[in-house]
């Protein structure tokens, strides 16, 4: 092929149509209280899943399609301690997805199983691993401890949004939109005027913004007065946005009396909240948005919990309207693309991180190498080393082919499974 495009797949992720998700990930499928002795059907990352709880309390997520003729198991019913029965021909499955009863025969077909998704309950959510079960590592669940820690109080909801989960991540990674979308509650002109700082590593992206000595917006004035009822003055405000791949964003937000040392780490004269957001793709263009707002002040006041939950709910409705309209806008303009601005840096990094995860599990990651290619490359190294050494002046930091291959092989030995995923299931 003579296609002249340089390998800038990372740049392509800025496109309007970018809305793909990795499968090797924990997605928050539901709040813990939603999963019980009933059948809850949801599509998670394009996979129909039925959830329920065993009588002993274990949360179960099975493929919502009977092994026999693909009828949804969610139309069946619970049976015994931990089983589900298909509503069509009565085939029963246990919590591991193995058939325990077959109609009109005395035996059970050995192949009669449905996939049982790995499930973890953590931080009040039921997390489902949609990819290769061998890789389901509980430590990869994003840290949302504020959602059930005694040092925090809060609550939240789930919104079903008719937009790609990525559009919500974009929205959360760039809070300048607050000035325009949420003018009556948390918006402030300093949001689009202040500089921000972006950092990233392999799985996280952080955007930090400080606004010094500003008039507090109404939402924050009220929160600060919960703790300091008489305070009417200016505040230092912060927004520290942390993205964890593939689809969780926590935002450390708050205000403190201006000049009391909050930027230096002393928040004793302020109030801190954490906006907990985790987005679960349903399809390429729809998602579940599970959010909560946790606070560190007046922990014993349920009235504040309710006020904040309903207040934030109203704010997020404004986002929902804009994001669904944006999704329709993208679909109505198929020949067109985003123009990405400097303010989109945070979202651009999240898209690059996600694209790398997807490339890795599909085995299309150009930075990784398969075992066969790795071995061939090792054999080739001796041959190419001399040539690269001769051209070393052109590549000042030893970034020649040999170095690249060596690095790839080393990485492959460290993580032999990377690049081999994306099969089965």
């Amino acid at each position: 092929m003579s296609t002249p495009l340089p390998s800038t797949s990372a740049a392509q992720t800025g496109h309007a149509t970018f809305r793909h998700f990795p499968l090797n990930a924990w997605f928050a499928a539901a709040w813990d209280h939603e999963v019980g002795r009933n059948l809850l059907a949801k599509t998670i990352a394009g996979k129909p899943i039925v959830m329920y709880r065993t009588t002993k309390g274990r949360a179960v997520a099975l493929a919502d399609a009977c092994w026999h003729r693909l009828s949804p198991l969610s139309m069946g019913k619970l049976r015994g301690e931990d089983e589900i029965m298909c509503g069509y021909h009565g085939i029963c499955y246990d919590a591991d997805g193995r058939a325990t009863f077959m109609p009109a025969q005395e035996t059970i077909n050995p192949s009669a199983t449905v996939h049982s998704y790995p499930v973890v309950e953590k931080y009040r959510y039921v997390w489902v691993w949609t990819g290769d079960p061998a890789l389901a590592d509980e430590s990869l669940v994003p840290d949302l401890h504020m959602n059930d820690s005694p040092d925090w109080a809060g609550d939240g909801k789930t919104i079903h949004v008719n937009c790609s989960y990525q559009l919500i991540i974009d929205n959360l990674m760039d809070l300048t939109h607050e000035q325009f979308v949420h003018g009556s509650s948390i918006g402030h002109e300093s949001l689009s005027e202040s500089d921000f700082e972006v950092t990233h590593d392999e799985r996280t992206v952080t955007v930090t913004k400080w606004m010094h000595g500003i008039e507090p917006p109404p939402f924050w004035k009220r929160n600060l007065q919960d703790r300091f009822p008489d305070y009417e003055g200016l505040v230092d405000r912060w927004q520290i946005i942390t993205y964890t791949a593939p689809s969780t964003v926590t935002i450390d937000v708050g205000v403190a009396k201006a000049g009391t040392g909050a930027p230096e780490g002393d928040r004793s004269q302020g109030v801190t909240g954490t906006v907990i957001n985790t987005m679960t793709p349903e399809t390429d263009s729809t998602c579940f948005y599970l959010w909560a707002f946790a606070r560190d002040w007046c922990l014993d006041k349920q009235v504040i919990t309710t006020r904040l939950r309903e207040g934030v709910s109203g704010v997020f409705f404004e986002d929902e309207v804009m994001l669904e309209a944006q999704q329709r806008g993208i679909e109505a303009n198929p020949g067109y693309d985003f123009y990405n601005l400097n303010i989109d840096a945070g979202s651009m990094w999240t898209r690059r991180v996600v694209q790398r995860l997807i490339d890795a599990e599909r085995g299309t990651d150009v930075e990784e190498t398969t075992e066969r290619a790795g071995n061939a490359a090792v054999a080739m190294t001796a041959v190419t080393e001399a040539a690269n050494a001769a051209g070393a002046n052109d590549t000042p930091n030893g970034t020649g082919l040999a170095a690249e291959v060596e690095e790839g092989v080393a990485r492959h030995r460290e993580q032999p499974t990377v690049g081999l995923m994306g099969r089965g299931l």
Partner: protein, 336 residues
């Protein structure tokens, strides 16, 4: 037609390459197919090979050929540039290249009370089709075309024949250099000024436009980030936090050089517009040649950040710093 279009690549055949001025060749391409005629102000992206690497360059569409499906480009051989123009000049009849459909970042607004088109040197390529369109529409316009000498001016005879008195040639060698304040004054109230030319010319016009208190949106220009105040020269870039140091040779961008040595940088437009490849400047030996249109003049002067896709550093001597001896250009940066 303002939103960014998806690029659609297709083959094109080189129909003709001919000299149209000193160091300027007209390249005529016949694309496999064309969805629509190229609108005035549009450009194509073309795949080029530079130093053994596939890369992309952008060239304005000067016009359509007589049969309605050829695209004419004008390319100046820039010896100090990154090598794209040398590739273009080496094209031969019958050769096949890869191009996009015409892309529009510089649309002409119709219905204004008056227009001034101002081209500097090879910048004429972006304005030829606009002049034609304004004439056909019977608009009130003036077409200013400046260069160092007449022999460098591509298409000049055709333009004079086409636009007659409306054509205003400004030639340094003839002592009729462009007078920027007068140029700005000559744009009627509510009218628009379209500019394409080298960075110093664009900077001067932007400054004069602001000084005259004119509406910023009425000054129209586009950028490929390909020219600056100084000719490109090699410089050293260091990222202490990542332990990286490399030399940016004259024919690659700082962004490309950093990518090649393993830095993971964000970018999008690669023409100095979007602000995504911005890096922080920690230390500087030399002068920054800001070639972007993202930062304001005031931000450029602070020199605490630069857009790595287009901006460069030149040595103190090249930059005209007083007391500069022979030390080479170097910059120390941090990246997101």
């Amino acid at each position: 037609m303002a939103a960014t279009t998806h690029k659609r690549w297709r083959k094109a055949r080189v129909l003709d390459v001919c000299e149209v001025a000193e160091h300027v060749r007209q390249v005529v391409l016949e694309p496999e197919y064309l969805e629509a005629p190229a609108p005035p102000g549009s450009h194509i992206d073309i795949g080029v090979y530079v130093n053994g690497r596939a890369d992309i360059r952008s060239y304005s569409v000067v016009g359509m050929g007589a049969y309605g499906n050829e695209l004419m480009l004008g390319v100046q051989l820039a010896r100090q540039s990154r090598g794209g123009s040398a590739f273009m000049h080496a094209l031969r009849r019958g050769q096949e290249v890869q191009i996009t459909q015409p892309l529009q970042n510089f649309p002409l607004n119709y219905g204004k009370p008056g227009y001034v088109l101002a081209a500097g040197g090879i910048g004429i390529t972006a304005l030829v089709a606009m002049g034609k369109a304004l004439k056909v529409r019977g608009a009130d316009y003036r077409f200013v075309y400046g260069a160092r000498s007449r022999s460098l001016m591509a298409f000049v005879d055709d333009l004079v024949a086409e636009h007659g008195d409306r054509m205003d040639l400004r030639i340094d060698a003839d002592g009729s250099s462009l007078d920027v304040p007068a140029l700005v004054d000559g744009v009627p109230e509510g009218g628009e000024l379209y500019v394409c030319g080298p960075t110093p010319m664009l900077d001067a016009i932007k400054a004069a436009w602001a000084k005259a208190g004119r509406r910023p949106a009425d000054l129209r220009f586009e950028t490929f980030g390909s020219s600056g105040r100084f000719a490109p020269e090699p410089f050293t870039v260091k990222i202490p936090r990542l332990g990286l140091e490399t030399v940016v040779s004259h024919d690659v961008s700082m962004l490309e050089a950093l990518e090649a040595c393993g830095a993971d940088l964000m970018f999008d437009c690669r023409r100095g517009e979007c602000g995504l490849c911005q890096v922080k400047v920690l230390e500087l030996e030399g002068v920054i040649d800001h070639r972007d249109v993202f930062l304001s003049d005031a931000q450029h002067e602070v020199n605490d950040r630069l857009q790595s896709c287009v901006s460069r550093v030149v040595s103190p001597r090249t930059g005209g710093l007083s007391g500069a001896d022979g030390q080479p250009a170097a910059v120390t940066i941090d990246v997101p």
